[in-house]
């Protein structure tokens, strides 16, 4: 059965697509901040630390999504606070959280008896397991993200652009930075459903970086990154369904290909323009 026909008939596939599109919107909203602030590595660290929360939740028999949520926020605040305090280099700190978080998660999972399909879907994502509750839950989260960003976008951009100057203007820059990290953490949990924690970083950075090749404002980047992200997730889901492939991996691969094509096109376009400008000046000289 082809994807479109199946989509019209199967409610679980509709839910999968809706969750995917909501994840795409979330990645488009937060991704541009991650890219311009250059905290991709930190986002990766938070994503992997989340396994600790999921492991503990499994062990205690509660929902791994709730565990992931709590753990992501704690990891974001801890990494943020310790790095602001300047106790150690930021990248060392992130590496520690990254690896220790995974180790804690694996230990708790190893001590949990029973079946582990749910866990695999959180590591690598499985949109096919999306439920109606998830659609409404993620819908609410994405709406909240959009409202919060609408309120704080202006001071947040100032903090990212020039923290020192913004602090001198009396803006609480540290609180805003920590808030940004929390929003990143929430987005990571939203994206887990689509591509799993191991590949989350692809959706958080690549669509935004791709948008950055073509538009020159943050808001423009958000719009384009959202659209591209939704396109990659929708197409990835379709291809995965048609060819019976894992959806998470297919989505990430499509996103990666899209990014590389965009980067190549952007570079070639620049080179071409420079050449044209150079030959233009030559002609005017001769």
């Amino acid at each position: 059965m082809n994807f479109i026909a199946a989509l019209l008939e199967q409610p679980f596939l509709q839910q999968a697509l809706l969750v995917g599109l909501l994840a795409g919107m979330a990645s488009g909203l937060i991704g541009p901040y991650v890219v311009v602030k250059r905290i991709g590595y930190m986002a990766g660290g938070i994503a992997h630390t989340v396994l600790a929360g999921m492991g503990v939740a499994f062990f205690l028999g509660s929902s791994p999504m709730v565990g992931a949520f709590i753990c992501a926020i704690i990891a974001a605040l801890l990494i943020g606070c310790i790095s602001l305090s300047g106790i150690d280099q930021e990248d060392t700190l992130i590496s520690a959280f990254w690896a220790v978080g995974m180790a804690v998660g694996l230990l708790f999972i190893s001590q949990t008896p029973g079946y582990r399909t749910d866990l695999m879907s959180l590591l690598f994502g499985n949109l096919m397991l999306s439920t109606r509750t998830m659609v409404f839950g993620l819908g609410g989260i994405v709406a909240a993200l959009a409202i919060i960003l609408g309120l704080i976008h202006r001071p947040l951009v100032a903090v990212i652009f020039d923290e020192e100057f913004t602090r001198l203007r009396g803006v609480p820059t540290r609180a805003l930075y920590l808030l940004l990290l929390c929003l990143v953490a929430v987005t990571i949990v939203v994206l887990l459903q689509a591509v799993g924690l191991i590949m989350v970083i692809a959706l958080l950075t690549l669509p935004a970086a791709l948008a950055g090749h073509h538009v020159r404002s943050l808001v423009g980047m958000m719009v384009m990154a959202s659209l591209m992200s939704m396109l990659f997730i929708g197409a990835g889901l379709g291809v995965a369904w048609q060819a019976d492939l894992p959806a998470g991996a297919t989505i990430v691969l499509l996103t990666g290909i899209g990014y590389i094509i965009s980067l190549t096109g952007h570079r070639l376009n620049r080179l071409f323009r420079r050449r044209q400008a150079a030959s233009g000046t030559e002609r005017s000289h001769s």
Partner: protein
């Protein structure tokens, strides 16, 4: 009347090295002060202390009668080095608007009245044509003007400028100094420079900082004092190299 800037016996030691020693300076309102001195003499450090970005080990700093941190919103600052990346996707207008942060409501997008409030600043610095450009393509001199515009958008009582003419050509430099002299009517200005030639034409007073402060002239600069200053400055450079 309380001076705009009041430093009393300010000292700072970093990692066992004395950076500033017993620096006392009073700058009355609306004075245009030139702060000169060799590299590593502590000029930028002193400016950062006036902003509350660094704290002295000893002594006291009062800006507009308040602590530097409390006065920071009344101070416009043009740093010597910018910390942001030039590829940041932002327009000149949005950079200048950042000078208005901290006044008005903190949330939501900029309002029309905020955008209108910076019209004058664009005119003063003659950068209206750049208003909607991205900062990526600006020349060094254009960027400098944008940063000065951002500082003026704060509507500051005190303006602190750290080498504001470093990346500007000679004509641009003269134009900027004319501008600063014009601004002096309602602003106290401290300008760091190592170009004594330009500075002495425009400023009311020159002080030289090389760990300690040497007040060259408390009275307005005249041709005599310039000559005197040059002599002393040259000798000072010899002392330390």
């Amino acid at each position: 009347m309380e001076p705009a800037i009041d430093l009393e016996h300010v000292g700072l030691t970093l990692e066992g090295q004395s950076i500033l020693e017993d620096v006392s300076l009073r700058v009355p309102h609306q004075q245009f002060l030139g702060l000169i001195g060799p590299n590593g003499g502590g000029k930028s450090t002193l400016l950062r202390m006036m902003l509350g970005l660094m704290r002295p080990d000893s002594g006291r700093i009062r800006m507009l009668g308040r602590s530097p941190r409390h006065a920071a919103r009344s101070i416009g600052y043009v740093p010597q080095f910018t910390r942001f990346t030039r590829s940041f996707p932002i327009s000149v207008e949005d950079v200048v608007l950042m000078g208005r942060l901290g006044s008005g409501r903190w949330w939501g997008p900029w309002r029309r009245q905020d955008r209108r409030a910076i019209d004058g600043v664009f005119e003063t610095l003659a950068i209206e044509a750049l208003r909607h450009r991205r900062i990526e393509g600006l020349s060094g001199g254009q960027m400098q003007r944008v940063l000065i515009a951002r500082a003026l958008a704060c509507q500051p009582s005190i303006l602190l400028l750290d080498e504001p003419t470093a990346s500007v050509d000679t004509d641009g430099e003269r134009a900027l100094f004319d501008l600063f002299a014009h601004l002096r009517c309602d602003t106290t200005i401290v300008l760091i420079s190592h170009d004594l030639g330009f500075i002495s034409d425009h400023v009311d007073r020159v002080v030289c900082l090389n760990r300690t402060l040497i007040d060259h002239a408390a009275e307005p600069v005249t041709a005599d004092t310039i000559a005197q200053l040059y002599g002393q400055q040259v000798r000072m450079v010899h002392h330390h190299h």
